[in-house]
Amino acid sequence: MKKIYQILIVLTVLALIPFQGNAQCKSFAKKVCKLELSPYIHDGNFNAAILTEGEDAELYKTFYAGQNYRIYICGSDALPEIEFQVLDVNRNVLYDNRKNDYSRIWDFDLESSQQLIISLRVKNSEEETDELVSGCVAIMFGIKENVE
Protein backbone atom coordinates (compact mmCIF):
# COMPACT_ATOMS: atom_id res chain seq x y z
CA MET A 1 0.00 0.00 0.00
CA LYS A 2 2.84 2.41 0.94
CA LYS A 3 4.48 1.83 -2.44
CA ILE A 4 1.25 2.62 -4.30
CA TYR A 5 0.99 5.93 -2.43
CA GLN A 6 4.61 6.73 -3.33
CA ILE A 7 3.95 6.02 -7.01
CA LEU A 8 0.83 8.21 -6.91
CA ILE A 9 2.78 11.09 -5.35
CA VAL A 10 5.42 10.88 -8.11
CA LEU A 11 2.70 10.76 -10.79
CA THR A 12 0.93 13.76 -9.24
CA VAL A 13 4.13 15.81 -9.28
CA LEU A 14 4.73 14.81 -12.92
CA ALA A 15 1.16 15.73 -13.85
CA LEU A 16 1.44 19.17 -12.30
CA ILE A 17 4.71 20.12 -14.04
CA PRO A 18 3.10 21.61 -17.20
CA PHE A 19 0.71 23.79 -15.14
CA GLN A 20 3.52 24.94 -12.86
CA GLY A 21 5.65 25.77 -15.93
CA ASN A 22 2.89 27.98 -17.36
CA ALA A 23 2.39 29.80 -14.07
CA GLN A 24 6.14 30.40 -13.74
CA CYS A 25 6.19 31.73 -17.30
CA LYS A 26 3.48 34.29 -16.47
CA SER A 27 5.23 35.39 -13.32
CA PHE A 28 8.52 35.68 -15.24
CA ALA A 29 6.90 37.72 -18.05
CA LYS A 30 5.20 40.01 -15.53
CA LYS A 31 8.09 40.59 -13.15
CA VAL A 32 11.12 40.49 -15.44
CA CYS A 33 10.12 41.03 -19.07
CA LYS A 34 7.66 43.92 -18.68
CA LEU A 35 10.32 46.16 -17.16
CA GLU A 36 12.47 45.96 -20.30
CA LEU A 37 9.67 47.41 -22.42
CA SER A 38 9.81 50.80 -20.71
CA PRO A 39 9.26 53.59 -21.88
CA TYR A 40 6.91 51.65 -24.15
CA ILE A 41 3.70 50.32 -22.57
CA HIS A 42 3.09 46.60 -22.65
CA ASP A 43 0.10 45.92 -24.92
CA GLY A 44 -1.19 43.33 -22.41
CA ASN A 45 -0.99 40.29 -24.68
CA PHE A 46 0.62 37.18 -23.21
CA ASN A 47 2.65 35.10 -25.66
CA ALA A 48 4.96 32.76 -23.80
CA ALA A 49 6.00 29.12 -23.86
CA ILE A 50 8.54 26.78 -22.36
CA LEU A 51 11.16 26.13 -25.03
CA THR A 52 14.13 23.78 -25.02
CA GLU A 53 17.45 24.56 -26.70
CA GLY A 54 17.19 24.01 -30.45
CA GLU A 55 13.42 24.65 -30.47
CA ASP A 56 11.70 27.48 -32.30
CA ALA A 57 8.47 29.49 -32.29
CA GLU A 58 6.66 31.86 -34.61
CA LEU A 59 4.17 34.63 -33.98
CA TYR A 60 1.84 36.26 -36.52
CA LYS A 61 0.65 39.79 -35.87
CA THR A 62 -0.51 42.88 -37.74
CA PHE A 63 1.38 46.07 -36.93
CA TYR A 64 -0.25 49.39 -37.71
CA ALA A 65 0.95 52.50 -39.56
CA GLY A 66 1.58 55.44 -37.27
CA GLN A 67 2.24 53.34 -34.14
CA ASN A 68 5.61 52.99 -32.41
CA TYR A 69 6.46 49.42 -31.43
CA ARG A 70 9.06 47.63 -29.33
CA ILE A 71 9.51 43.87 -29.65
CA TYR A 72 11.26 42.28 -26.71
CA ILE A 73 12.20 38.61 -26.72
CA CYS A 74 12.53 37.65 -23.10
CA GLY A 75 14.14 34.33 -22.15
CA SER A 76 15.13 32.92 -18.80
CA ASP A 77 18.82 33.25 -17.92
CA ALA A 78 19.42 29.51 -18.06
CA LEU A 79 18.75 29.43 -21.81
CA PRO A 80 21.45 29.90 -24.45
CA GLU A 81 21.22 32.89 -26.88
CA ILE A 82 17.90 33.37 -28.68
CA GLU A 83 17.98 34.15 -32.39
CA PHE A 84 15.09 36.22 -33.66
CA GLN A 85 14.03 37.51 -37.03
CA VAL A 86 11.19 39.69 -38.25
CA LEU A 87 9.82 38.59 -41.62
CA ASP A 88 7.18 39.89 -44.01
CA VAL A 89 4.40 37.58 -45.26
CA ASN A 90 6.64 36.40 -48.10
CA ARG A 91 9.28 35.55 -45.48
CA ASN A 92 11.70 38.28 -46.58
CA VAL A 93 13.91 39.10 -43.59
CA LEU A 94 13.40 42.64 -42.29
CA TYR A 95 15.44 42.26 -39.11
CA ASP A 96 17.86 39.63 -37.85
CA ASN A 97 19.28 39.96 -34.33
CA ARG A 98 22.33 37.84 -35.25
CA LYS A 99 23.59 40.95 -37.09
CA ASN A 100 23.05 42.95 -33.93
CA ASP A 101 24.87 40.93 -31.28
CA TYR A 102 21.76 38.88 -30.42
CA SER A 103 19.97 41.98 -29.14
CA ARG A 104 16.57 41.00 -27.76
CA ILE A 105 14.99 44.41 -28.38
CA TRP A 106 13.89 45.93 -31.67
CA ASP A 107 12.15 49.32 -31.96
CA PHE A 108 10.30 50.16 -35.15
CA ASP A 109 7.44 52.00 -36.82
CA LEU A 110 5.71 51.55 -40.16
CA GLU A 111 4.67 53.71 -43.10
CA SER A 112 1.84 51.31 -43.89
CA SER A 113 0.22 48.57 -41.81
CA GLN A 114 1.71 45.09 -42.31
CA GLN A 115 1.22 41.55 -41.13
CA LEU A 116 4.62 40.39 -39.89
CA ILE A 117 6.06 37.15 -38.59
CA ILE A 118 8.30 37.06 -35.52
CA SER A 119 10.44 33.95 -35.79
CA LEU A 120 12.69 32.86 -32.95
CA ARG A 121 14.94 29.96 -32.11
CA VAL A 122 16.74 29.00 -28.92
CA LYS A 123 20.32 28.18 -29.93
CA ASN A 124 21.87 24.88 -28.97
CA SER A 125 24.08 25.15 -25.94
CA GLU A 126 27.81 25.21 -26.68
CA GLU A 127 28.58 23.26 -23.53
CA GLU A 128 28.27 19.51 -23.87
CA THR A 129 25.85 18.23 -21.25
CA ASP A 130 23.60 15.21 -20.95
CA GLU A 131 20.50 17.29 -20.25
CA LEU A 132 18.85 19.76 -22.61
CA VAL A 133 18.17 23.16 -21.06
CA SER A 134 14.56 24.42 -21.06
CA GLY A 135 13.11 27.76 -19.99
CA CYS A 136 10.39 30.30 -20.46
CA VAL A 137 10.49 32.48 -23.58
CA ALA A 138 8.06 35.39 -23.90
CA ILE A 139 7.44 37.58 -26.93
CA MET A 140 6.44 40.97 -25.58
CA PHE A 141 5.13 44.00 -27.47
CA GLY A 142 5.40 47.56 -26.28
CA ILE A 143 3.49 50.46 -27.81
CA LYS A 144 4.09 54.16 -27.45
CA GLU A 145 1.82 57.12 -27.96
CA ASN A 146 3.02 59.67 -30.49
CA VAL A 147 3.44 62.97 -28.68
CA GLU A 148 3.39 65.18 -31.80
Binding site: P18, F19, K30, L51, Y60, Q67, Q114, Q115
Partner: protein
Protein backbone atom coordinates in the same frame (compact mmCIF):
# COMPACT_ATOMS: atom_id res chain seq x y z
CA UNK B 1 -17.54 0.23 5.31
CA UNK B 2 -14.09 -0.89 6.65
CA UNK B 3 -10.86 1.09 6.56
CA UNK B 4 -9.29 -1.13 3.87
CA UNK B 5 -12.18 -0.55 1.50
CA UNK B 6 -11.99 3.20 2.12
CA UNK B 7 -8.27 3.12 1.26
CA UNK B 8 -8.98 1.26 -1.96
CA UNK B 9 -11.69 3.76 -2.98
CA UNK B 10 -9.45 6.72 -2.20
CA UNK B 11 -6.63 5.14 -4.19
CA UNK B 12 -8.87 4.47 -7.17
CA UNK B 13 -10.16 8.05 -7.12
CA UNK B 14 -6.62 9.45 -6.88
CA UNK B 15 -5.43 7.22 -9.70
CA UNK B 16 -8.23 8.44 -11.98
CA UNK B 17 -7.56 12.12 -11.16
CA UNK B 18 -3.80 11.79 -11.64
CA UNK B 19 -4.22 9.89 -14.90
CA UNK B 20 -6.59 12.57 -16.17
CA UNK B 21 -4.13 15.28 -15.20
CA UNK B 22 -1.28 13.53 -17.01
CA UNK B 23 -3.37 12.91 -20.11
CA UNK B 24 -4.63 16.51 -20.30
CA UNK B 25 -1.22 17.93 -19.42
CA UNK B 26 0.52 16.03 -22.19
CA UNK B 27 -2.36 16.04 -24.59
CA UNK B 28 -3.10 19.73 -24.62
CA UNK B 29 0.32 20.62 -25.94
CA UNK B 30 0.23 17.87 -28.47
CA UNK B 31 -3.20 18.90 -29.75
CA UNK B 32 -2.18 22.51 -29.83
CA UNK B 33 0.78 21.70 -32.03
CA UNK B 34 -1.34 19.52 -34.27
CA UNK B 35 -3.93 22.28 -34.68
CA UNK B 36 -1.24 24.83 -35.30
CA UNK B 37 0.37 22.74 -37.99
CA UNK B 38 -2.94 22.17 -39.75
CA UNK B 39 -3.78 25.84 -39.46
CA UNK B 40 -0.49 26.96 -40.88
CA UNK B 41 -0.92 24.68 -43.87
CA UNK B 42 -4.28 26.34 -44.60
CA UNK B 43 -2.80 29.81 -44.14
CA UNK B 44 0.24 29.12 -46.22
CA UNK B 45 -1.41 27.63 -49.28
CA UNK B 46 -1.62 31.04 -50.81
CA UNK B 47 2.06 31.79 -50.24
CA UNK B 48 4.30 28.91 -51.31
CA UNK B 49 5.20 25.30 -50.71
CA UNK B 50 8.55 26.13 -49.08
CA UNK B 51 6.74 28.19 -46.46
CA UNK B 52 4.57 25.20 -45.54
CA UNK B 53 7.69 23.08 -45.17
CA UNK B 54 9.39 25.68 -42.96
CA UNK B 55 6.43 26.35 -40.71
CA UNK B 56 5.49 22.70 -40.18
CA UNK B 57 8.66 22.17 -38.19
CA UNK B 58 8.02 25.08 -35.84
CA UNK B 59 7.29 24.00 -32.26
CA UNK B 60 5.02 26.83 -31.10
CA UNK B 61 2.81 29.08 -33.25
CA UNK B 62 1.17 32.19 -31.80
CA UNK B 63 -1.50 34.33 -33.44
CA UNK B 64 -1.65 37.73 -31.81
CA UNK B 65 -4.58 40.12 -32.15
CA UNK B 66 -4.40 43.80 -31.24
CA UNK B 67 -5.08 44.04 -27.51
CA UNK B 68 -7.84 46.43 -26.31
CA UNK B 69 -5.09 48.86 -25.31
CA UNK B 70 -3.49 48.80 -28.76
CA UNK B 71 -6.91 49.18 -30.42
CA UNK B 72 -7.61 52.31 -28.34
CA UNK B 73 -4.18 53.73 -29.19
CA UNK B 74 -4.75 53.10 -32.91
CA UNK B 75 -8.10 54.91 -32.65
CA UNK B 76 -6.58 57.91 -30.91
CA UNK B 77 -3.59 58.06 -33.24
CA UNK B 78 -5.95 58.09 -36.23
CA UNK B 79 -7.68 61.24 -35.05
CA UNK B 80 -10.66 59.68 -33.28
CA UNK B 81 -12.56 61.78 -30.73
CA UNK B 82 -14.19 60.57 -27.51
CA UNK B 83 -17.87 59.67 -27.70
CA UNK B 84 -19.23 57.91 -24.63
CA UNK B 85 -22.56 57.20 -26.33
CA UNK B 86 -20.81 54.61 -28.49
CA UNK B 87 -19.69 52.52 -25.51
CA UNK B 88 -21.56 49.54 -24.12
CA UNK B 89 -23.45 50.88 -21.06
CA UNK B 90 -22.09 49.43 -17.82
CA UNK B 91 -25.67 48.80 -16.68
CA UNK B 92 -25.72 45.91 -19.17
CA UNK B 93 -23.41 43.77 -16.99
CA UNK B 94 -26.38 42.07 -15.35
CA UNK B 95 -27.56 40.80 -18.77
CA UNK B 96 -24.48 38.66 -19.34
CA UNK B 97 -24.87 35.29 -17.66
CA UNK B 98 -23.39 32.77 -20.09
CA UNK B 99 -19.65 32.15 -20.48
CA UNK B 100 -19.81 33.27 -24.10
CA UNK B 101 -21.57 36.58 -23.39
CA UNK B 102 -19.29 37.31 -20.42
CA UNK B 103 -16.16 36.55 -22.48
CA UNK B 104 -17.32 38.70 -25.42
CA UNK B 105 -18.21 41.57 -23.11
CA UNK B 106 -14.99 41.27 -21.12
CA UNK B 107 -13.34 42.10 -24.46
CA UNK B 108 -15.89 44.83 -25.20
CA UNK B 109 -15.56 46.45 -21.77
CA UNK B 110 -11.74 46.34 -21.68
CA UNK B 111 -11.70 48.08 -25.08
CA UNK B 112 -14.15 50.70 -23.76
CA UNK B 113 -11.98 51.01 -20.64
CA UNK B 114 -8.82 51.57 -22.71
CA UNK B 115 -10.60 54.08 -24.98
CA UNK B 116 -11.99 56.06 -22.01
CA UNK B 117 -8.64 56.11 -20.21
CA UNK B 118 -6.70 57.29 -23.28
CA UNK B 119 -9.05 60.26 -23.47
CA UNK B 120 -8.58 60.95 -19.72
CA UNK B 121 -12.20 60.15 -18.84
CA UNK B 122 -11.62 59.39 -15.17
CA UNK B 123 -15.13 58.39 -14.04
CA UNK B 124 -15.75 56.30 -17.17
CA UNK B 125 -12.36 54.59 -16.62
CA UNK B 126 -13.38 53.51 -13.11
CA UNK B 127 -16.85 52.44 -14.28
CA UNK B 128 -15.48 50.35 -17.14
CA UNK B 129 -12.83 48.77 -14.90
CA UNK B 130 -15.64 47.72 -12.55
CA UNK B 131 -17.69 46.34 -15.46
CA UNK B 132 -14.63 44.40 -16.70
CA UNK B 133 -14.09 43.11 -13.16
CA UNK B 134 -17.63 41.76 -13.02
CA UNK B 135 -17.16 39.92 -16.32
CA UNK B 136 -13.82 38.51 -15.14
CA UNK B 137 -15.34 37.34 -11.87
CA UNK B 138 -18.21 35.68 -13.75
CA UNK B 139 -15.67 33.79 -15.83
CA UNK B 140 -13.82 32.65 -12.71
CA UNK B 141 -10.68 34.62 -13.47
CA UNK B 142 -9.31 34.85 -9.98
CA UNK B 143 -7.11 37.84 -9.21
CA UNK B 144 -7.20 39.25 -12.76
CA UNK B 145 -8.90 42.37 -11.48
CA UNK B 146 -8.79 42.35 -7.70
CA UNK B 147 -9.82 45.05 -5.23
CA UNK B 148 -6.24 46.21 -5.07
CA UNK B 149 -6.26 47.09 -8.78
CA UNK B 150 -9.44 49.21 -8.45
CA UNK B 151 -7.88 51.00 -5.47
CA UNK B 152 -4.64 51.60 -7.39
CA UNK B 153 -6.68 52.93 -10.31
CA UNK B 154 -8.56 55.37 -8.08
CA UNK B 155 -5.38 56.51 -6.33
CA UNK B 156 -3.61 57.19 -9.65
CA UNK B 157 -6.54 58.37 -11.71
CA UNK B 158 -4.63 61.44 -12.92
CA UNK B 159 -1.46 59.56 -13.76
CA UNK B 160 -1.83 58.33 -17.33
CA UNK B 161 1.27 56.06 -17.27
CA UNK B 162 0.15 54.19 -14.15
CA UNK B 163 -3.40 53.83 -15.53
CA UNK B 164 -2.05 52.36 -18.78
CA UNK B 165 0.12 49.97 -16.79
CA UNK B 166 -2.85 48.83 -14.68
CA UNK B 167 -4.96 48.22 -17.81
CA UNK B 168 -2.11 46.34 -19.50
CA UNK B 169 -1.69 44.19 -16.36
CA UNK B 170 -5.44 43.47 -16.28
CA UNK B 171 -5.45 42.31 -19.91
CA UNK B 172 -2.36 40.16 -19.34
CA UNK B 173 -3.75 38.56 -16.18
CA UNK B 174 -6.93 37.59 -18.03
CA UNK B 175 -5.22 36.16 -21.11
CA UNK B 176 -2.58 34.28 -19.13
CA UNK B 177 -5.23 32.87 -16.79
CA UNK B 178 -7.03 31.32 -19.77
CA UNK B 179 -3.74 29.95 -21.15
CA UNK B 180 -2.75 28.42 -17.80
CA UNK B 181 -6.13 26.80 -17.39
CA UNK B 182 -6.32 25.43 -20.92
CA UNK B 183 -9.25 27.71 -21.80
CA UNK B 184 -7.80 29.18 -25.02
CA UNK B 185 -11.28 29.21 -26.59
CA UNK B 186 -12.48 31.74 -23.97
CA UNK B 187 -9.35 33.81 -24.46
CA UNK B 188 -10.04 33.93 -28.21
CA UNK B 189 -13.66 35.00 -27.65
CA UNK B 190 -12.50 37.82 -25.34
CA UNK B 191 -10.10 39.06 -28.02
CA UNK B 192 -12.74 38.89 -30.76
CA UNK B 193 -15.19 40.84 -28.54
CA UNK B 194 -12.60 43.57 -28.06
CA UNK B 195 -11.68 43.61 -31.75
CA UNK B 196 -15.32 43.99 -32.87
CA UNK B 197 -15.85 46.77 -30.29
CA UNK B 198 -12.84 48.62 -31.74
CA UNK B 199 -14.30 48.27 -35.24
CA UNK B 200 -17.70 49.46 -33.99
CA UNK B 201 -16.28 52.58 -32.34
CA UNK B 202 -14.09 53.34 -35.37
CA UNK B 203 -16.82 52.93 -38.00
CA UNK B 204 -19.17 55.12 -35.96
CA UNK B 205 -16.61 57.88 -35.56
CA UNK B 206 -16.19 58.28 -39.32
CA UNK B 207 -18.42 61.20 -40.26
CA UNK B 208 -20.85 61.07 -43.20
CA UNK B 209 -18.92 63.70 -45.20
CA UNK B 210 -15.52 62.07 -44.88
CA UNK B 211 -13.48 61.29 -48.00
CA UNK B 212 -13.22 57.50 -47.70
CA UNK B 213 -10.09 57.49 -49.86
CA UNK B 214 -8.21 59.93 -47.69
CA UNK B 215 -8.93 59.43 -44.01
CA UNK B 216 -6.65 57.90 -41.38
CA UNK B 217 -9.46 56.29 -39.39
CA UNK B 218 -10.90 54.70 -42.54
CA UNK B 219 -7.40 53.46 -43.41
CA UNK B 220 -7.09 51.74 -40.03
CA UNK B 221 -10.54 50.17 -40.50
CA UNK B 222 -9.44 48.82 -43.89
CA UNK B 223 -6.23 47.51 -42.26
CA UNK B 224 -8.41 45.16 -40.23
CA UNK B 225 -8.52 43.00 -43.33
CA UNK B 226 -4.91 42.05 -42.41
CA UNK B 227 -5.89 41.28 -38.81
CA UNK B 228 -8.90 39.28 -39.95
CA UNK B 229 -6.70 36.40 -41.14
CA UNK B 230 -5.24 36.19 -37.61
CA UNK B 231 -8.76 36.27 -36.10
CA UNK B 232 -9.79 33.40 -38.39
CA UNK B 233 -6.65 31.40 -37.52
CA UNK B 234 -7.28 31.82 -33.78
CA UNK B 235 -10.91 30.75 -34.13
CA UNK B 236 -9.96 27.77 -36.32
CA UNK B 237 -7.56 26.62 -33.60
CA UNK B 238 -10.47 26.46 -31.16
CA UNK B 239 -13.28 25.34 -33.43
CA UNK B 240 -14.07 22.32 -31.26
CA UNK B 241 -15.72 24.77 -28.86
CA UNK B 242 -19.42 25.45 -29.49
CA UNK B 243 -19.24 29.13 -28.54
CA UNK B 244 -16.32 29.67 -30.90
CA UNK B 245 -18.35 28.22 -33.78
CA UNK B 246 -21.10 30.84 -33.38
CA UNK B 247 -18.55 33.65 -33.16
CA UNK B 248 -16.88 32.21 -36.25
CA UNK B 249 -20.14 32.59 -38.21
CA UNK B 250 -20.13 36.32 -37.40
CA UNK B 251 -16.47 36.69 -38.33
CA UNK B 252 -17.05 34.89 -41.64
CA UNK B 253 -19.79 37.42 -42.46
CA UNK B 254 -17.24 40.19 -41.94
CA UNK B 255 -14.67 38.27 -43.97
CA UNK B 256 -17.04 38.13 -46.96
CA UNK B 257 -17.24 41.93 -46.94
CA UNK B 258 -13.51 42.51 -46.32
CA UNK B 259 -12.77 40.29 -49.32
CA UNK B 260 -14.34 42.95 -51.54
CA UNK B 261 -11.55 45.33 -50.49
CA UNK B 262 -8.30 45.06 -52.46
CA UNK B 263 -5.04 45.91 -50.70
CA UNK B 264 -1.71 45.81 -52.51
CA UNK B 265 1.57 46.60 -50.79
CA UNK B 266 4.99 47.37 -52.25
CA UNK B 267 8.13 45.59 -51.02
CA UNK B 268 9.06 46.64 -47.48
CA UNK B 269 12.36 48.47 -47.06
CA UNK B 270 13.69 48.71 -43.49
CA UNK B 271 15.60 51.96 -42.79
CA UNK B 272 17.24 52.45 -39.38
CA UNK B 273 17.89 55.85 -37.83
CA UNK B 274 21.41 55.61 -36.38
CA UNK B 275 20.70 58.19 -33.69
CA UNK B 276 17.47 56.78 -32.26
CA UNK B 277 18.10 53.18 -33.34
CA UNK B 278 14.47 53.02 -34.49
CA UNK B 279 13.79 51.24 -37.79
CA UNK B 280 11.09 52.50 -40.13
CA UNK B 281 9.52 49.89 -42.39
CA UNK B 282 9.01 51.88 -45.58
CA UNK B 283 6.36 50.69 -48.04
CA UNK B 284 3.41 51.98 -50.00
CA UNK B 285 -0.07 50.54 -49.91
CA UNK B 286 -2.79 50.88 -52.52
CA UNK B 287 -6.43 50.27 -51.59
CA UNK B 288 -9.41 49.71 -53.85
CA UNK B 289 -12.73 49.94 -52.02
CA UNK B 290 -16.18 50.99 -53.22
CA UNK B 291 -18.09 53.34 -50.87
CA UNK B 292 -20.96 50.84 -50.72
CA UNK B 293 -18.53 48.19 -49.40
CA UNK B 294 -17.54 50.50 -46.56
CA UNK B 295 -21.18 51.15 -45.61
CA UNK B 296 -21.99 47.44 -45.85
CA UNK B 297 -19.09 46.77 -43.49
CA UNK B 298 -20.24 49.46 -41.06
CA UNK B 299 -23.76 48.01 -40.98
CA UNK B 300 -22.55 44.43 -40.48
CA UNK B 301 -20.22 45.50 -37.64
CA UNK B 302 -23.17 47.23 -35.96
CA UNK B 303 -25.36 44.11 -36.23
CA UNK B 304 -22.64 41.81 -34.86
CA UNK B 305 -21.69 44.20 -32.03
CA UNK B 306 -25.33 44.56 -31.02
CA UNK B 307 -25.64 40.80 -31.13
CA UNK B 308 -22.68 40.59 -28.71
CA UNK B 309 -23.89 43.27 -26.30
CA UNK B 310 -27.68 43.21 -26.29
Amino acid sequence: MDIKSLHCKALCFLAVVVSALIITGCGSDKNKNKDSEEEVVIESLEIDEQLIKDVKTVKEIFYSLPSPLETAMILKQSGAVYNEELLNPTENVANYVTNKSMALNLGVYTTDLSYASLFDQTQATINYMNASKKMAEGLGILNAIDENIIERLEANINNRDVIMDIISETIMNSSSFFEENDRQAMSTIVLVGGWVEGLYIATNLVGPDVDLNNNELVNRIIDQKLTLSTVVSLLEENKDNEDVITVMTNVNELKAIFEKIEITTSKIEPVTDDETNVTTLKSKTEVKMKPETYYELKEKVKIIRNNFTL
